[in-house]
Symmetry: C2
Subunit: 311 residues, 2 copies
């Protein structure tokens, strides 16, 4: 089978740290180009200033991995899909549900594979938790996602601009794990969004959800005002009395307090293994649940003004 | 063919003014019950206090028309769909996209018809506009939806509560027309949401959208602070130079300034004619675009605080 010739679009930290090595380690892929305004590329690989340049004068490509900031992802993905390229999107797949739905439509029309990745879902511990919870009745789920925005997003202004998601930028990772492992739909029934008085996006949020698969409370708490180390935890209690705890952002699983080994590819190698399956099988994998839950929280959330935030 | 035995759930103004006469005028339906906490029903029809009561001790029903306020619609629709009843939902079909998606899943599982109605879409002038714009390239679209909230929602507190939509309650009617007539997806790229300092939902909003079918600006302006009569207008300019104007909430169509006759059923008779087709054909009709556009506007909207609003 021919190798899938792939270009990386957007050559920032996540592309360099995760996508380049994962592509290099997967024999189904061959990295043939990058697209970057800052001309970045690993040794010997040509770099183009835009996807239009790549399509006009680059090497032949079959697929792209789009790792740009989310606000420009839609226009780039649209050009790539229209050109018949299989497209992998970093998380979140867009800044609105509308643009994601339109990409789905174009991918269907052009019969190419579209893959909306949520990297945390490909953590082996997350996959193991999903397997254990399949078909279970759930009592409660509690998501706690606390970190220090000054440590994790120093000086990043786009997260505070309208459409920048604020604390939902990390929170959507938690929602991507929660919606992957939960054996039923997660439906927002109430939310509180805490906006610093000088900012356009929330610095903290609380969500109350329900599910046909759950009898008790499903709650999420996101907070960026946490300077004493991170908490990236999800705890699920089943009706059968088992407690599953995913900690460290989905990388460790414990059942009733006992650590469970979860062997597997790891996040990005798992993503590329799945992308190869999609391309080879001629199918797409589109998961908009984390973005939908976020949009629903903004739609019905109570806005609370809190003290200004200065970087 | 047997008549479709239908119950109306929620017996408020819209049920009495629109649903009862439209059901009575359509020979495919027979109104056999209502569900209402205030015990309302047209002469001779039994009324039940809940859908559970109706299912347990009422006459046999095949379908329901759910006309309650939106916040309780999901729980009621879930019970009805699970019980195998074809379900027609007043607009908006829910307060979140998540609950609507879950209803779609249940309807598919139970193989019953789910119909998310947006009454303004069934205006004959709207249908005529959609027909004229099919396949056209669009230059610009401008939506202006201004009314006096004191006149149209006197003393209604739920519209100001979180999840009450605020000015999107009428605005979503405009979006339901716009998304019906526009020959391509409408994608929100920016929004301004004007919140009174003492209220939880916006009193006015501006949306900037794009579409693969349009070359120019697509704009919407919703405003509840308009005391000098209503403006419920949508103007579309095509690339071919034609100007379509839908006015009076979608009830009148003009092309290049000339009124165009648009014969047809009328909004609610059209809705029931379509519901009968869906039930007879064993299919569903689910349109979440107006709700998705609204959620996207809240997700990336810039919040602007404006003067307090007192009823």
């Amino acid at each position: 089978m021919d190798r899938i010739r792939i270009a990386i679009v957007g050559y920032g930290k996540i592309a360099q740290d995760q996508h380049v090595p994962s592509i290099a380690a997967n024999h189904r892929f061959e990295l043939v180009a990058t697209v970057s305004r800052s001309s970045g590329a690993p040794g010997g690989i040509p770099c183009f200033g835009s996807v239009e340049d790549l399509l006009a004068s680059g090497p032949k490509v079959d697929a792209v991995a789009i790792c740009t900031p989310p606000s420009v992802r839609y226009e780039i993905a649209r050009v790539c899909l229209e050109a018949g390229l299989h497209s992998l999107l970093e998380k979140p797949p867009g800044v609105t549900l509308g643009e994601c739905e339109e990409l789905v439509r174009i991918a269907g029309e052009r019969r190419v594979s579209l893959f909306t990745t949520w990297h945390a879902q490909y953590n082996p511990a997350v996959e193991a938790a999903a397997e254990r919870l399949k078909g279970e009745r759930i009592d409660t789920m509690r998501i706690v996602w606390r970190e220090d925005v000054r440590k994790w997003h120093p000086g990043q202004q786009w997260i505070w601009a309208p459409g920048g998601f604020g604390v939902f930028d990390p929170g959507i990772n938690a929602l991507s794990i929660a919606s992957r492992i939960f054996p039923g739909a997660l439906i927002v029934r109430g939310a509180e969004l805490l906006f610093p008085s000088n900012r356009e996006t929330p610095i903290a949020a609380r969500l109350a959800m329900v599910s046909p698969a759950a009898t008790g409370a499903i709650e999420a708490e996101f907070d960026w005002r946490h300077s004493g180390g991170e908490a990236w935890d999800i705890e699920v209690r089943t009706a059968a009395g088992e407690t599953l705890t995913l900690s460290e952002g989905g990388s460790r699983l414990a059942v009733n307090g006992e650590q469970v080994a979860a062997p597997g590819h790891g996040e990005y190698p798992g993503i590329y293994a799945h992308f190869a399956e999609l391309v080879d099988g001629g199918t797409s994998h589109v998961d908009l649940a984390p973005l939908r839950i976020s949009a629903d929280a903004f739609l019905l959330g109570k806005r609370v003004q809190v003290e200004p935030f200065e970087d």
